[in-house]
Amino acid sequence: MAYVATRGGERAIEQSQRLFKAELGDITPERVAEIRSAMPYLIDRVMGEASLYDEDLAALALAQTGGELYEAVLLLRAWRTTQPRIAVAEPVTQDALFTHRRISAAFKDIPGGQVLGPTLDYAHRILATEVLDGQTHRPEPVEPAAKPAPANQPSVAAWQAENGLLRAAVPDTQTGNDIPDVTREPLLFPAKRAHTLQSLARAETGGVLALGYAAQRGYGQAHPTVNELRLAEAEVVVTHPRGTQFSAGRVKVSQAEVVSKKGEQLELGFSATLGWNEVKVIAAATLDLNSKSAPKGSATEEEFFLYHTEGVESSGFCIHFKLPHYVTFQSSLYAMRDAKAKKAAKEKSAEPAE
């Protein structure tokens, strides 16, 4: 009862917020700028889950919440709600991506070539403790390759489709405002393809990983091979009211194709998201791959994983259990006591109570 003391509510919540903010201290433009430049992968993750690409706002959200990721994502999603949709960008095709990193586990070499790009994959994970002793950890300069890799590359799946190894995805003919948008309409099942891909793109990284990992470990039907993983930048091409098409800027994107053998064909799972987040797209593509043959109610069924990887909903519901529930509790308490009394009476008289 302490926290619903009569008339105390308003003051209590005000002071509890002050306490939280006091710990964080001043939020300055410098702090936001430092977060943005020092933690690009964290910024990417937050932007992806918020489905709002703005590095400054993402850095601000992280500063304001002290790095409480669920809160930061909610802050950005709530901001997004207030924003009008001014234009719908042109579709981004895979071969138009400005590619930084592109690897395939399916083939030793692929048309366009493997591009290792920036990664910690082969780094030894050793803390640079000298920094704590006052030294600066300065990265070694990058030595450019003699021949730069081409910036634009076809997709591996396109090559496989040409060679009859898999059925190419049918291009979606919907354009502009007709494209189903999961932020403007509810997710229903069986889900529209656009809704599935959008939901995975917005999904909470940890949740997608947990369910994707379960599928990879054997709770799914299909074992994935990474056909292609790509980190790239995409041009956001919009049409001016006068008809001119122009690039409004570039956004970082990740995408993964995973495949598995099904009969004489390969089956394809796909995922893409805003920002660079490799774990998320590989896990999400695994779920996409497995969903086609998933039994109802299993963790690899679309309805199951799309509902349960929605981070804003799941984290909100989880913390709502902190709210008082004494009315519901009182109601079950009454039923419990009454049932107990009935049972006792029945045992006493050995005659049915009713």
Partner: protein, 304 residues
């Protein structure tokens, strides 16, 4: 005509926070929900500056319905001063400029979590109930797409079976709050986790009730003068919580839904759950002129 005449100055957010297209969608879904009482209507359910599960569904409906002259009351578990009720009330007042009240009689719109006030609501009042889980079939069918099909077929055998099983196992129906109820003889809905005490208040009520689940993205409604019948066997009567003879230790009011407060000596005292009603009863006892409305329950009984 000048450009200035056609445009509005920039504002950081729309009136009532939600943008016009979001409100339009919610209005349309509310109309559909009223047209098919008790039927869950999916809606987009935008993120609002509160966590999911904290009343975001109710909030979106309230934000869509309010205008600056509407008086808003917000309660959580019956109390106006519960922390989350205070937070929601402050937010609505801040983004929509609405006056607020704690008195049920003065309110035009009441957003509530898990209670219906003890004073009878009028034709001109709207009750918005926050709903954590809109699907009464969830305990018997967790899959949403199958559950939707079951509603379409009015396939409610499993709901009844659940009650049968409870009586067989425990000697009584164990369902406490969220008691599944048949609306307008067609759709089974959850009345949200209001106690059984409150469910009869919805039956043939004069006011409109809108139930909204933000996280689960569903709106449903009980229009005025609509039948709301708890699922019960014809020979096992519906029983509300046994609170008719309890007295509030603070206000002395009697015959309403109470909160039980355990005491150090192992006993319990009771406090009326509708805090505004309790406050009014205290003020009247202390000699103030306070208007007390007609209550649904009279002497602890709901007139049938």
């Amino acid at each position: 005509m000048t450009l200035h005449a056609l445009t509005k100055p920039w504002e950081p957010m729309s009136y009532g926070f939600l943008d016009a297209s979001a409100k339009r969608e919610i209005r349309r879904k509310m109309i559909k929900a009223i047209a098919v009482p008790g039927c869950q209507m999916p809606y987009a359910s935008h993120e609002v500056p509160m966590a999911r599960g904290w009343g975001t569904g109710g909030l979106q409906v309230s934000l869509t319905l309010v205008n600056p002259s509407m008086r808003v009351k917000v309660i959580d578990q019956g109390a106006d001063d519960s922390v989350n009720a205070a937070s929601i009330r402050r937010f609505i007042a801040r983004v929509a400029g609405t006056p607020t009240t704690m008195d049920t009689l003065d309110a035009d719109l009441i957003q509530s979590r898990h209670r219906i006030p003890e004073e009878v609501l009028r034709e001109d009042q709207v009750l918005v109930l926050q709903v954590p889980n809109p699907e009464p079939l969830r305990p018997v069918q967790p899959n949403m797409s199958i559950a939707r099909q079951m509603h379409a077929d009015a396939d409610y055998g499993r709901m009844w079976l659940q009650l049968y099983e409870q009586i067989v196992r425990s000697g009584r129906v164990m369902q406490g709050a969220s008691y599944p109820s048949l609306v307008h003889g067609r759709h089974v809905m959850t009345p949200s986790p209001i106690p059984r005490w409150d469910v009869p208040k919805l039956h043939m009520a004069k006011h409109l009730t809108i139930l909204s689940a933000g996280r689960e993205k569903r709106i449903f409604a009980v229009p005025p003068f609509t039948r709301v019948e708890p699922l019960v066997f014809s020979d096992v009567p519906y029983k509300v919580e046994d609170h008719a003879d309890l007295t509030c230790h603070r206000s002395g009011t009697r015959g309403f839904f109470m909160n039980e407060i355990p005491q150090d000596d192992g006993t319990s005292v009771f406090e009326v759950s509708d805090s505004a009603w309790g406050v009014k009863a205290i003020r009247r006892r202390d000699g103030e002129e306070v208007a007390l409305g007609e209550t649904w329950y009279k002497n602890g009984k709901m007139p049938s």
